[in-house]
Amino acid sequence: MKILGSAALAIGIACASAGMAAAQDCPVKLGAVLPVSGPMGQVGERIAATGLFAVELFNDAGGVKGCPVEYLLRDTQGQSTVGVDAAKALVDLDGVAALVGAISSGVSLPILTSVAVPSKVVQISCCSSSESFTELAKRGETDGFWFRTYATNRSQAAMGAYIAQQNAFKSVSVVYVNTDFGVGLAERFAEDAAKLGIEVTSMVAYNESQQSYRAEVTTALEGEPEALFLVAFPVDGATITREWLALGGTDNLIVNNSLRSSDYFEAVGSQYLQNLIGYDSAQPRLPSVDSFNELFEARFDGPPNGPGLHSVFDAVTVVLLAMEASDELTGEAIRENIRAVTDPAGIEVYPGIEGIERAKALLAEGKTIRYVGATGALQFDPYGDVQAPKMTWKLDGDTNVETGYLSTQEVAELISSLEE
């Protein structure tokens, strides 16, 4: 009976809160489903905090339609069942108007198919890279509710090959994380490298969160490649890099965007990474758009180095702008207006309180805008994917510096040259 009693009580509380959620004025609720604990916890925690930061900035600029935005974060624990339930609770019990998340495609996909699409809620992810999303969208199964601010694997692989070519590496070994992200990227890279006449000496997949990667590293060392292309996340990436260097591997490292992270530099030791070359999505070449980095530094006492930070900031901001542009906070309206606030013909607006205030003013006048954010000028294709300009970077002492820039146009040309 005790159980029944407490269950009834719980339901009562839930009813009361659901009742409040149903009334659709203040505050406006934004749901976030992210892994803040579990294997991806280290990455997820920062992403969650940056998402909150984007919401705070928006609130400082007056919120959505004069309402403060409430950021409801639910932990997926890196588990799809928990993530699915959390997303459903956010939609049904809290009445969120849109979902941000998740990180792993293996969690984002079930949320999309079982919660976001059936409930007609926009889902926007900072980080899920799987090609399955594009495929689902092409099959018409996302109903357009899926977006991601993460530029697809295609351009990343091309950047890896581009760096290898620019540095005249003749042979490269690839060590990659055994997830949809790593596998997709590594396989594309191998094709691209072959096109450019670069020998791939070995392709070594590693499973996440292993204690030691000696066997993998020893395998990758075979054939003594001139460079290593490492596709990893900071924690495991640091382990692999340390073992690689300790066992005499070359310090010509090419690394993917997620390793542009102070966690990685500190764990390996910057002094060992002076020959590293990385790529990442770039900020567009506009003086006004250093703002994200500055805003971030002011808030977190450190530069925004880490996977997904730029893209989650844009994901949240785009969704909130789309809400501002919507007459009613329905999934359909937000879905349409995401395109209205990233319109290439629109007036450019930038991150930060002033930028958002300006965007809101323009939207109030009925104009379309083009949000140019932390990952550049976002433009979603019909399947919810974006392309972004790219940059290359390296470490100079402890600070990471930009060494090259490729505009969206140049990235597209690079890809098409590789696909001829």
Binding site: E45, N207, Q210, R214, V235, T239, L247
Partner: protein, 305 residues
């Protein structure tokens, strides 16, 4: 390159051996598969870290790294503290959870409880020390080249040496000391040992202490040669079980040999199978030995309990 894989296998296997000794005895004498044993490695590694941090706070009176190694004299204190603290933790777990459960619910419930204890221990580490990896010494140690082009880290040679020393020490303990002889007696035949006046309760405490001590050292060494993170032990569950079962539970040399075989198999297997399958290797070893020789390499034929 095969020589390199063999060297890697032996050197990583030595750590698995240290961790598996305790598991092997506890499977034999405590008669349950303790899935939380691997978390003792994690705790051992973090206990040692605490001493390192304290040592740094008082201005490193014992000095820094020595010679080619990544560590210096403080490692002796760190190891000692870690062994004592991990043993205390193990005894606390025994008193608070496992001993009570055995009286009330039987051995198999203990197995499940050990899953719960493992979750609890792992997340406590996460809570206290955070998810970021930690290094005892962030300076990178470079491998030295042995004849044949084999590259090894000085630290790993040291670990192998300590493992050999620990095994010799445990051998002497088991054959010369009263407690050790009692332990062997209980392992061989618990009923007979009890009838002939052996204090089984004391023996059980010794098993926990030895198991925790080995786990603490293994955790410290793993942390030293790779890094510390809350999942340190969790990833070693299957290798540890494989080593214990392979060697034959209750056998000191069995556990050592089992650990080396696991290390070698993991490192050699990646030459023929994709690395993505590597974590399944220990399991295949378990399956193979259970088919071919269920009592393990050094185990005596035991009855089904």
């Amino acid at each position: 390159m095969i020589l390199q894989h063999i060297a890697d296998g032996i050197l990583t296997g030595a750590i698995v051996s240290l961790g598996a000794i305790g598991l092997s005895f506890s499977m034999k004498i405590l008669r349950f598969a303790n899935f939380s044993h691997s978390e003792l490695l994690t705790w051992g590694a973090y206990f040692a870290l605490v001493l390192y941090i304290l040592h740094r706070l008082v201005g490193e009176p014992l000095g820094g790294a020595l010679g080619p190694f990544s560590f210096g004299l403080p490692i002796v204190g760190a190891a000692a503290l870690s062994i004592v603290a991990t043993a205390a933790l193990a005894i606390a777990l025994h008193r608070l959870v496992f001993a009570r459960l055995e009286r009330r619910a039987g051995a198999m419930t203990m197995v499940f409880a050990s899953f719960g204890v493992a979750l609890l221990l792992r997340n406590l580490v996460l809570l206290i020390f955070g998810p970021d990896p930690i290094y005892y010494n962030t300076a990178l140690q470079f491998a030295i080249r042995l004849p044949g082009g084999v590259r090894v880290l000085p630290d790993q040679i040291f670990v192998l040496g300590v493992t050999i020393a620990v095994v010799i020490g445990l051998h002497l303990f088991l054959t010369r000391s009263r407690a050790g002889i009692a332990m062997r007696a209980v392992a061989e035949n618990p009923d007979l040992a009890a009838v002939s006046g052996t204090d089984t309760g004391r023996v059980i405490l010794w098993v926990w202490v030895i198991g925790a001590g080995g786990a603490a050292l293994a955790g410290l060494f793993y942390g030293m040669t790779v890094q510390l993170r809350p999942e340190l032990g969790f990833g070693l569950i299957l290798p540890l079980f494989a080593a214990a079962i392979l060697g034959g539970v209750g056998s000191l040399y069995g556990a050592v040999l089992g650990g080396l075989i696991v290390g070698l198999a993991e490192n050699l297997a990646v030459m023929v199978i994709p690395t993505g399958y590597k974590p399944a290797i220990p399991f295949l070893l378990i399956l193979a030995i259970l088919y071919l020789r269920p009592q393990g390499i050094f185990g005596s034929t035991g009855e089904r309990t």
